[in-house]
Amino acid sequence: MPLTLLARLGWRNLWRYRRRNLMLFMAILVAVAGCVLVSALIRGYQYDMMADAVANLTGNLKVMAPGYRADPSIAHGFNLDPAFRPDIPADELIGWTQRVRVPAVMLSERETRGISLIGIEPKDERTISFLGSVEIRGDGLVDRDDGRILLGVELARQLQTAVGRRVVIITQGADGLNREAGYRVAGLYDAAGTAIEKAYAFTGLRPLQKLLGTGAITEVSVRLRDDRFSVLADSRLAREFDGLDVLNWRQLEPQAAAMFELADAAILIWFVILMLALAFGLINTLITAVLERVREFGMLRALGMRPGSVVVQVVMESVSIVMAGLVGGITIGWGLIVYFADGIDLSRWSAGIELAGLRSRLVPHLLWSDVVAVSAMALALGLLASAYPAWRAVRIKPLDALRR
């Protein structure tokens, strides 16, 4: 039974019942567009979360001494060979850096705050962390010997200090005794008022090491071009840093990692739900299409068409309308994503989104694997929904149909 003939019959039969097939087409279109848009928004969230986790000094991979995570003091530091270079191919690596990060108390003329004091290599940071992209009022740090301090705007506000003023740092040195030093505020960075801004203060690596009385560092952070490279990079670093912990961003930010995984599951669940919601209407329409053409099917059987061909006809009708809706839905979904390319403004819920790890603009991110998934599910739906109607169609005996 030639397929092209059946295809032609199926296509024309769709047009015969224009109105209700149009309704069905629109329903599938809405469902598919919805799937595409929702998945893109969730992916946007997912990828932002990862990007933020990575950019907020976490990096894709970090090397630390065991015990540092529980007690982030210089007591859990380690020494780094000055000639060290990570054994990672240049095309996978964006950059890497070393840092000293210790808890400290910062006193201004008026106020006191507990903070995280971080000694950095400013040039490296500019490439690999958020410091490279935030607005800085005043001066940024020049190099690793810069003895000034860079604060968050929010922290400065809380301490009631400003660029050019002095603050005092009290922290625990390598020998376990408290150290105190004065710093001049070089500049203030604006990280949109997030928790980082209230807690992180930066200074040059060397002066901090000197204050603490050590040459050790507390972490090496590596930023890769794509997170997928981290698996291999992990093992390479582990070899280089035998005895130390090598952790990826998922281990360092388990909340973010959990949200990340949840997103994948959420997308799948929504796809299934929307397809199910669609199924009822699809089966209804297909069944009616078969039942009102009992005589026609009977006549075709009488003429000599095989039962299998009747099944193919029904299935083809179902699949072709699903495909039409699929194409339309993907187009509309994609169009919507382009329309929202600048992101959806969530600033109304600024505190809530911070808790959830969202940014103030949710930018959709379309993954073609998601589009493929939707398509596969829609086609599967088309096939499954046509099962019962096709079964009914096959049972039509030529004689019964004609006698009616």
């Binding site: 006549m299 003429l303 004689l399």
Partner: protein, 235 residues
């Protein structure tokens, strides 16, 4: 013999009482005959036609069409038989609504696997020879009852079947249209040698048949050959 029926019986089991549609019917039909099966409602004429056409299975007895016994065939084989050896014209719903007249005629050839070019040529030829070439691109919805039946005849005949079965072909037509349709059938019967068997209660149809078989209560009660001359004259 194109059709051989021996001791044919068909009983329908309903909830109440079994209906004996046909009882012990014997009939032989030779090539080139134009047969009418007539009788009152419930006489079994349509049942007999359906059995000959392989649309129904007998409870008892045998049907042999063009040398092939129908009793041993499965559904697929019966379908093939209907496709290649038998042409059908029904009372109504003959044509596929979404295909044009030409496409309806081509459809049957597509089922047989005839090549596109040949299909087209043959379809247009048959439509032309039946005088309805101008209807080629119209859909059934755009044709009158009589025109639809003519297209149905074209479709039934284009595959050059041995046998053409027509079940109440004139039921929805007025008398003039019926005359035209039957004239068409007669031409096919005479010019192409197609054996025609029709089940009908329409006297106009019966007049064109040279062999008139009458049934009553599931049995053949009369089977007479009529003179050629008388058949050709209108009543």
């Amino acid at each position: 013999m194109v059709v051989l029926c021996r001791n044919l019986s068909r009983v329908y089991r309903t909830e109440a009482v079994p209906v004996h549609a046909l009882t012990s019917v014997d009939i032989d039909i030779a090539a080139g005959e134009f047969v009418s099966l007539s009788g009152p409602s419930g006489s079994g004429k349509s049942t007999l036609l359906n059995l000959i056409g392989g649309l129904d299975r007998a409870n008892e007895g045998e049907v042999i069409v063009d040398g092939v016994a129908l009793t041993g065939l499965n559904e697929a084989q019966l379908a093939d038989l209907r496709l290649t050896k038998i042409g059908f014209v029904f009372q109504a719903y003959n044509l596929i609504p979404v295909l044009s007249a030409r496409e309806n005629v081509e459809f049957i050839m597509q089922l047989q696997g005839v090549a596109a070019r040949e299909r087209r040529i043959r379809a247009l030829a048959i439509l032309d020879s039946l005088g309805i070439a101008d209807l080629a691109n119209r859909r059934p919805g755009e044709l009158s009852g009589g025109q639809q039946q003519r297209v149905a005849v074209a479709r039934a005949v284009v595959t050059e079947p041995k046998l053409l079965l027509a079940d109440e072909p004139s039921a929805n037509l007025d008398s003039t249209t019926t005359e035209n349709l039957l004239e068409l059938l007669r031409r096919i019967n005479v010019e192409r040698g197609v054996t025609i068997v029709t089940a009908t209660h329409d006297p106009i149809v019966m007049r064109y048949a040279r062999r008139r078989v009458r049934l009553k209560d599931g049995r053949i009660v009369a089977d007479e050959l009529v003179d050629e001359e008388i058949a050709a004259e209108p009543a």
